[in-house]
């Protein structure tokens, strides 16, 4: 008997950290992004997921039908704190922080590198970020706005007892 699909299926997955070698400070840096681990964290989870599905970048062929959803409960708190600290100290705000002060910037890095030109959504979810990101992705697919969606859930650690963490999944119908 056929049953209604529960939602998009996972085509590939990547995460950081994924093993003992993924320690603080080991994330590959991204040109143009400074100060915060948030953007390298997002990029690395996306890289692992997309490489598992496509191999080397870009996606072949490049696609206008793959969207990206970045869900982060708190966002890039390190960049926000760096801006606040500069203002309090009367120092100049580093110009590069302008570009990375919103989550779209690192999504732009990922989509340009992989040739993914579908819709882009960034959110602060109230609940579990991966679950909510998948819900946004399912709506994009049901609305015919995308065929596949890369969902990235990422947050920086809030204290010494936890790690920065990100998971990326590529989903499709």
């Amino acid at each position: 008997m056929l049953t209604r699909a529960a939602g998009p299926v996972v085509l590939a997955r990547g995460e950081w950290p994924a093993g003992p070698v993924d320690v603080p400070g080991s994330l590959p840096q991204i040109a143009g992004f400074v100060v915060s681990a948030f953007n390298p964290l997002v990029a690395q989870a996306a890289e692992r997921c997309l490489a598992a599905h496509y191999g080397a970048p870009p996606a072949d062929p490049p696609t206008t039908r793959t969207g990206v959803v970045l869900a982060s409960v708190r966002g890039d708190t390190a960049t926000a704190d760096a801006v606040t600290a500069a203002l309090r100290a009367g120092r100049r705000v580093p110009p590069l922080l302008f570009f990375q002060s919103n989550p779209n910037a690192v999504v732009g890095y990922v989509t340009a590198r992989w040739g993914l030109a579908g819709p882009v959504a960034c959110t602060s979810p109230a609940g579990d970020p991966l679950t909510d990101g998948l819900a946004v992705a399912a709506l994009l697919i049901e609305d015919s706005a995308a065929d596949q969606v890369l969902v990235i859930a990422a947050d920086l650690a809030t204290d010494d007892t936890e790690s920065d963490h990100a998971v990326a999944v590529l989903v499709g119908p």
Partner: protein, 360 residues
């Protein structure tokens, strides 16, 4: 067949004041609400100008107020009894703000706050429309807020994104960049069936919505406009509306060199030969750029334009830029009997949206 999505309520607070009448009376004539910022010391910045409301607005208070205003316009006494979607800056306080706003307006805590920079609010509108069109919801309230604050002002100053002459000059020769502006806006989206069942007045239909990505750069738009053009085409296709049926475009028009030329290219691609006959303005030229909330304020302006038959001025225009050849409304508001109008937005990371509203 999917139910139509309609707008039954809307409200906006901006530097022009609280309510739609202030926007219609002053903003549409091309009178900018720009002045020196007084809520923090901007003396060390390259410009001191923004479009600010008096004092220092409190985000949750203004969101509650604008949601209540939009609900009242929609004829929904008390809580509108539906999901709430919020849009705002990516911030660690978002969950607490969303919870407070939801509690005060009597709605469930929003599943998420949309944070995708300058398309945050319009992405929320597109998702709300999709929820209704797919039958998941009968009604959704979308609200967004942005307050010109010292940290954001300093960031945009550091990025040299702000106009040193204190004016936004969309699509104009000599344009220098953005001016930031406060904004709070809310819309009540509803299925046509739901609105009809309760006898609600339909302000406009949300006839189509489209989104796309550029896959090009962290902060610059794809110069050839092909990414944004796909969002506009998607909105028209969803609505089954031809380009020559569009009678107004409220453009993203940030007044930055890169955006405006890429957006003009996108409008030429998506609207084809009709583009020369479609009046265009960017209301950012008077209310400033409200970042995550700007798209919702611009949607409200677009609805007001369609309903009043009066198209707002693209203020600050100095002269023609050959890379931005559009039918700009530069002198005074233009009368219209248009049935459809587009509100176009683009953001960092190459995120694009287009919303098409239609006369009911």
């Amino acid at each position: 067949m999917a139910d139509k999505v309609v707008v039954t309520g809307l409200a906006a607070h901006s530097a022009f004041g609280r309510g739609s009448s202030a926007l219609l009376a002053r903003a549409f004539t091309g009178e900018p609400a720009f002045g020196d910022v007084t809520r923090f010391d901007a003396a060390a910045r390259r410009t001191t100008v923004a479009a600010t409301m008096p004092g220092t607005p409190v985000l949750a208070d203004e969101l509650v107020s604008v949601i209540e205003d939009a609900s009242r316009v929609a004829g929904l006494a008390g809580a509108p009894d539906c999901p709430l979607l919020l849009a705002g800056h990516a911030d660690r306080a978002n969950i607490a703000t969303a919870a407070e706003v939801a509690r005060r307006v009597g709605l469930a805590v929003p599943a998420r706050t949309y944070t995708a920079a300058c398309v945050a609010a319009t992405t929320a509108v597109a998702d709300a429309a999709a929820m209704i069109a797919t039958g998941r919801q009968d009604r959704v309230v979308v609200a967004a807020g942005f307050i010109v604050a010292e940290d954001i002002f300093a960031l945009f100053d550091a990025g040299r994104a702000l106009a040193r002459d204190g004016r936004v000059r969309p699509f104009s020769a000599g344009r220098q960049g953005m001016v930031l502006g406060d904004a709070f806006a809310a819309v009540v989206l509803e299925s046509a069936t739901s609105a009809a069942l309760r006898g609600a007045d339909v302000l406009v239909t949300l006839a189509g919505w489209g989104r796309s990505g550029d896959a090009y750069h962290v902060c610059q738009p794809r110069p050839d406009g092909t990414g944004l053009a796909r969002a506009i085409t998607a909105a028209l296709t969803k609505a089954e509306v031809e380009a020559d049926e569009v009678g107004y475009v409220n453009a993203n028009g940030t007044g930055t060199l890169f955006n405006d030329s890429a957006e003009a290219a996108a409008l030429h691609i998506a609207l084809g030969d009709a583009v020369g006959r479609i009046p265009v303005s960017s209301t950012k030229s008077v209310h400033g750029h409200a970042l995550e909330a700007s798209g919702l304020l611009e949607l409200v302006c677009t609805v007001l334009a369609l309903r009043s038959g009066r198209l707002p001025v693209n203020a600050g225009f100095l002269g023609v830029d050959d890379d931005c050849l559009l039918d700009l409304i530069v002198d005074e508001p233009r009368a219209t009997d248009a049935r459809y109008a587009l509100s176009v937005n683009a953001a960092f990371g190459g995120a694009n949206t287009a919303l098409l509203v239609g006369a009911p």
